[in-house]
Subunit: 396 residues, 2 copies
C-alpha cells in the first residue's frame, strides 16, 4: 500500500510537471526526431564538461589502488572538502577550512541534509517567489512549512514583506542566487537589507535564522553581474551548491554544503548535516567523482555560449511577441503567458506542446501566469525553434 | 540552531558508534601504524572490485559523448534498469522487466525511498532483531515506528512473536538476509511461514504488508547456503540491495529497488519510490557508475577468501575464548560479551579498543550483550589480531 500523502502527490495535477515534460520530451524526440522537438523543459546543461574534468576522469580510471571505491568518512574525502573550502574562501572572501564543508549527493541532497539538520516540526522556511519548485518537497520532507513571499517588480526582494514573516519559528530563509526560474541576481543592497532583517529577528527573538544560499549557477552570469558573498554580511549563512550546472555534471551527483566559520555553532551544524546525509541513506557522495572534483573544481565551462543562446532566444521571443524577464545569470528565461490564456500557465504550456515546444509552467515555481524556458540546449535547437514560436503565437 | 531531535541524536551515547569507531580507526592507524590497529568496525570490503568492473570504468572513462554525465530519468538509465531486472529474475526465478526496478544511491537510499513511499505517520515496520542499526533512522525519518521482534535461539525467526505484532498498522516487515550483524541466513521454512503470516494479516485486515528483503550480501554465502527467493512465496515482496558488498563498491553508491511484478500495484509502487528518490534529493543514482554496473553487474569477487578469513577469525576467537554465532553469509561475526562484563557491550568494546581492536557494540543492532566483528579486512590483519585478542582475554 502506497502512503496516502505520496499517492496524492504523485497523482496531483501539478506534480513534477518539469520532470514529466523532460520524460515526455524523450518520447516525442523518438517520435518526431531530435531536431523537431524544442525541449526547454529541464536544466540539463548542453555544454560538455571542460577538459580538466575529462582528464581527471581518465586519469582516475587508471587508479586501482586498494580501497579506492570504498567508504570514506561520511562528510567526504578530506582532499575534496579542502578543495571546496578553497573554492568558497575565494567566493566569499573569508577563510574556510575543510571542516566547514560536507560533500553531498548534489545540491538537492545538500538541501535535504540542511533541512533535516535544522528543522523542528512546523518550523518555517521563508522563500522569495518565484523559486525552484522542488523546495516545497525538501522542506515538507522534514516537517517544515515553506512560507512563500512574492518578490517585487523585477523580482527584487520584498524586504518589508519578508520582515513581516520573520519570527521565532523562522529556521531559515532560502535564496537561489542566480535564481531559477527567473535568472535574477539579487543586488548587494538587497542581501545587506536581508541580513539586517535576520539580525533584527535574532536580537528580538533569540533566533538568528540560517540564510541558505543555493548557488549552483554562481559561475553562470552575464554582462559583468556578480553574486554577493553572503558570508560577508551575515554570520549564520550557508552555501549549498553543486557541480551540476557549472561543470555540466548533473547526473554525477556531487554537491556540497559550506557553513560560515563565523556562524553560531559551525561544528555542531556540520555534525548535524553529516548525520543527516548518513541517515537519509546517501551515506557519502560518490567516491570516484569526489576525486574527479578534487582535481578539477577550478575548471570553467565557456559560459559565453550560454549568453549567446540567451540572446538568440530573447530575439526569437521578441519576434514572436512573448514578454520575459532579462536574466542576469543561470540559463532560464521566465516568460509571461500571453493575455489570451488569462494567466493559465499549465494551459499555455500544453498549447506550446502542440508545436513541439516544451516549457515549464510557472505555477509550480510560485510564479503563476509565467512559464520557464531552459535555454541550456543546443544553439541549433534554439534557432530552429523560431518558426514554432512564431507559428504558435500567430495561431493563438 | 540545530533541530532538537537531531541534536539529541548526534549527542546521544549510542549514536553512530560504528561510524565513530571507523573514524577513530583512521586516527589510531595514523598514530600506531596500519599494521598495529585491528579495525573490525565497519563493513568496508577489503577485496578489490573484480576485473570486469575495472575494465568497465576504464572503457567508460573514454566516453566523451554529448550528455554522458547529464540527467537521465530519475529511476535510472533504461539499460541499467534492464540489467538489474535480469539479475533479479535469475535470483527470484520469476521474470521482471526494467519497469519493476529503480536504480538508487546505494541500498541505504533505496530503503529511505521505500519507507518514504509506503509509510503513513505511525505505521509500523517489523524487524527481527538483531538488525542493521541504521534501520531505526530509515524508518523514523519517514514517521514510522520500528517494532523490534527478538529472534529465537540461533537467530531463527520467531514467527509466533511476529504474528502477534502484525496488524492493520503494519506497513512492512524488513529482513536482512544474510543478516548484518549475525551472518544468519533465514531458512526457506521460515520465509514460507513468514509469508503465510503476512497473507493471513492481509486476509484479516485488508493490508498485505510489504516484505522488504534487504540483500546486499546475497552473493556472499558459505558452505553451500542459499538465500530463499521471497518473490516465490509472497506477492508484496520487494528486494532492496546494492553493489557495495558483492562488487566491493560501497563508496560509489549504486543500489536498487526491485518489486515483485505480481504485487498489488507494482507500477504505483515504482512511481512512488521514484518520486521519493527525487524529492529526497538524490534525483538519480550517479550516472557514471550506473553505466559501469550495466556492463559488470554479473561479475563476482572471489568470496572464498571471505570464507578463509571467517575461518581464521573463528579459530582465533576459539583460542581466545570468545563465543560467537557461526555465520552462513555476509562478513560479520556476532560474538558474546564475556561474562565478566555483565552484558555491557559498550564497555567491552571500549576495553578491546585498549588492545587496538575495534568492534561494534551489539546494543545498537538490537543485540545487547553481543558485539560485531567485520572480518572484511586483510587476512594479515586477522592473523596479527590473535595476540591482541588473547592478551585482552587473558588480562580480563
Amino acid at each position: 500500500m502506497i502512503a496516502n500523502e505520496i499517492r496524492e502527490k504523485i497523482n496531483s495535477k501539478g506534480a513534477s510537471v518539469i520532470r514529466k515534460m523532460f520524460e515526455e520530451g524523450i518520447v516525442l524526440k523518438k517520435q518526431y526526431g531530435d531536431d523537431n522537438v524544442f525541449d526547454f523543459s529541464l536544466g540539463n546543461p548542453d555544454l560538455d564538461p571542460p577538459a580538466e574534468v575529462v582528464n581527471a576522469i581518465q586519469e582516475l580510471a587508471k587508479d586501482t589502488s586498494h580501497g579506492c571505491h570504498g567508504y570514506m568518512p561520511n562528510a567526504g574525502y578530506p582532499e575534496t572538502r579542502t578543495a571546496i573550502a578553497e573554492k568558497i574562501s575565494q567566493e566569499q572572501g573569508l577563510k574556510l577550512s575543510g571542516n566547514n564543508v560536507i560533500i553531498t549527493v548534489g545540491a538537492a541532497s545538500a538541501l535535504n541534509c540542511v533541512f533535516k539538520a535544522i528543522l523542528n516540526k512546523d518550523d518555517e522556511v521563508i522563500v522569495p517567489a518565484p523559486f525552484f519548485a522542488e523546495y516545497r518537497h525538501y522542506v515538507s520532507n522534514h516537517l517544515g512549512n515553506l512560507i512563500e513571499v512574492p518578490s517585487k517588480e523585477g523580482f527584487n526582494l520584498d524586504i518589508e514583506a519578508i520582515k513581516s514573516k520573520l519570527s521565532e519559528k523562522t529556521a531559515a530563509i532560502l535564496i537561489n542566487n542566480p535564481n531559477n526560474p527567473t535568472g535574477k541576481i539579487y543586488s548587494e543592497a538587497d542581501i545587506k537589507a536581508l541580513a539586517e532583517a535576520l539580525n533584527e529577528n535574532g536580537d528580538r527573538t533569540g533566533r538568528y535564522p540560517y540564510l541558505i544560499c543555493d548557488e549552483p549557477y554562481r559561475a553562470i552570469v552575464y554582462d559583468g553581474a556578480k553574486v554577493t558573498p553572503a558570508f560577508q554580511y551575515y554570520k549564520n549563512a550557508v552555501v549549498v551548491s553543486s557541480f551540476a550546472k557549472d561543470l555540466s555534471l548533473p547526473g554525477e551527483r556531487i554537491g556540497y554544503i559550506a557553513i560560515n566559520p563565523q556562524s553560531d555553532e559551525p561544528d555542531e551544524f556540520i555534525k548535524a548535516a553529516t548525520f543527516a546525509l548518513r541517515v537519509l541513506g546517501c551515506v557519502n557522495a560518490p567516491a570516484f567523482f569526489q576525486k574527479v572534483i578534487a582535481k578539477s573544481w577550478n575548471a570553467k565551462v565557456d559560459y559565453s555560449s550560454y549568453r549567446n543562446r540567451r540572446d538568440k532566444l530573447m530575439a526569437i521571443l521578441d519576434n514572436a511577441g512573448i514578454e520575459y524577464y532579462r536574466p542576469e545569470g543561470a540559463f532560464y528565461l521566465f516568460c509571461k503567458v500571453p493575455e489570451k490564456f488569462n494567466g493559465d500557465d499549465m494551459a499555455f504550456c500544453d498549447y506550446l506542446k502542440k508545436y513541439l515546444i516544451l516549457g515549464a509552467p510557472g505555477n509550480g515555481f510560485g510564479g503563476k501566469g509565467w512559464f520557464r524556458l531552459a535555454y541550456c540546449v543546443s544553439e541549433k535547437s534554439i534557432v530552429n525553434s523560431e518558426k514554432a514560436f512564431v507559428k504558435a503565437m500567430t495561431e493563438l
